[in-house]
């Protein structure tokens, strides 16, 4: 448990910057501020609870509240959840491995499917789009299977359920192609959230320890190339696809903007979204939104103690690399200087005006 002065200091600084609040209601101010700039909020319940049936049921209740919030507020265009919030990693892995499930496992897996259905059905009934977040490769096939089942149930009229593709995975592009072909065959819409990926260290460590080939692209350039190739694939198939570019990569965002212009697609076409994390890459989010594109921010929320790992990750990725300040810090310095200059110019102008008078 964090003690009072430390908790207060964190709350008023990095927590306030990177998180919306401790509860959904606590996020209202953030939602309002983002909405003022025509930026949507994706409420991300960031608490990683214990792996118990009670904790999973509690997570479902909380996600249902975020779906309800999205249904009530146009400023909340998506909801989101992680399958490991409603199932044990061990069970998901066992299903993927093809090992025989015990009667207990089967019952537990049936409950996972039921929880997944509760969330997606609620989203469908309330016309709210819902992202299923991507996770580690050794459970991702199970997550994909569950998600496609939901799409087949709820995406025939509207694109409600969206799957996430981590383009640092060597297999992601072919998975996306297969998913599109299946969606076309079965006649449902496919919502795709394209990200680069977040579990590289864990993936590589496991591949090394268990002696199988690295599932991640060898270089960042290969990942970038795969990401942009997927973007082009989406454009070629956007009759049945909807996309959310979950990225802080400026080039990928500009590439999408350029392609949309070339194809005569309106900036605010609802099949095209951009998303960044709250407190990060505001230069991308606010400039895209200013130009009329659909933008949303991932807004994590939860008790301060529970979101500390998330805050540590944000702090770590904003440190200088080899003496080079982060992009965020460089832009902040630029804006501080710009405002100081503007104040000086205003002062000069008023002095001159006073002299003339």
């Amino acid at each position: 448990m964090l003690k009072f002065p430390i908790k207060g200091a964190i709350k008023n600084t990095i927590f306030e910057h990177f998180c919306g609040g401790e509860t959904i209601e606590g996020c209202n101010e953030t939602i309002k501020q983002l909405d003022a700039a025509h930026i949507g909020t994706i409420l991300d319940y960031s608490v990683e609870g214990e792996e118990s049936e009670e904790s999973f049921d509690h997570t479902v209740e909380e996600i249902l509240l975020t779906i309800k919030k999205a249904a009530e507020s146009p400023a909340v265009p998506f909801s989101v959840f992680k399958v490991t919030g409603i199932a044990t990693l061990e069970l998901l892995e066992k299903v993927q491995s093809g090992r025989e499930l015990t009667a207990e496992d089967q019952a537990a897996y049936a409950r996972v499917k039921q929880r997944m259905n509760t969330l997606c059905k609620a989203a469908h009934d309330l016309h709210v789009r819902i992202f299923v977040d991507a996770e580690e490769t050794w459970i991702q096939d199970t997550i994909d299977t569950l998600t496609y089942e939901m799409m087949d149930l709820y995406n025939h009229q509207e694109c409600i359920v969206w799957n996430t593709y981590q383009m640092y995975r060597t297999e992601s592009y072919s998975n996306l192609v297969k998913a599109t072909e299946t969606a076309r065959k079965k006649g449902y819409e496919l919502g795709i959230k394209l990200v680069r990926g977040a579990y590289m260290e864990r993936e590589r460590q496991r591949a090394h320890e268990m002696e199988y080939s690295d599932p991640i692209h060898a270089t960042k350039e290969d990942t970038d190339q795969a990401y942009n190739k997927a973007l082009q694939y989406f454009l070629d198939n956007h009759d049945i696809l909807s996309i959310c570019l979950g990225t802080h990569n400026e080039y990928s965002c500009l590439l999408m903007v350029q392609k949309m212009k070339e194809m005569g697609i309106a900036a605010d076409d609802q099949h095209f979204w951009f998303a960044q994390l709250l407190g990060m890459s505001d230069n991308i989010s606010f400039n895209l939104s200013h130009a009329g594109y659909n933008v949303a921010k991932y807004v994590p929320y939860g008790p301060i103690e529970a979101v500390m790992p998330y805050l540590f990750r944000r702090a770590a990725e904003n440190t200088s690399v080899a003496g080079q300040a982060s992009r965020e810090f460089t832009l902040l310095k630029k804006e501080v200087r710009r405002r100081k200059r503007a104040v000086r110019q205003d002062l000069c102008k008023s002095k001159k005006a006073a002299q003339k008078a």
Binding site: I6, I14, D268, I284, T319, E335
Partner: protein, 62 residues
């Protein structure tokens, strides 16, 4: 099946503008001078590797 709300054109339709991700006046337009200073100091602190390492260590202790 009624058309879903998400397919309605949003109220913020604007004339298309040229995008520059270097335009900090737009990027930080929602931050007052006071908020911008605060954000600046948070990022200035996070920019220091040693401070993040020490901070993370002590917070974990408490």
């Amino acid at each position: 099946m009624p058309k879903m709300d998400i397919l309605k054109a949003p109220s913020h339709q604007q004339q298309e503008k040229t995008i520059s991700f270097d335009d900090t006046s737009v990027a930080f337009a929602n931050q007052s001078n006071w908020q911008l200073k605060k954000t600046f100091f948070i990022f200035a602190a996070m920019n220091r590797n040693w401070l993040v390492k020490i901070g993370t260590f002590f917070i974990k202790l408490f």
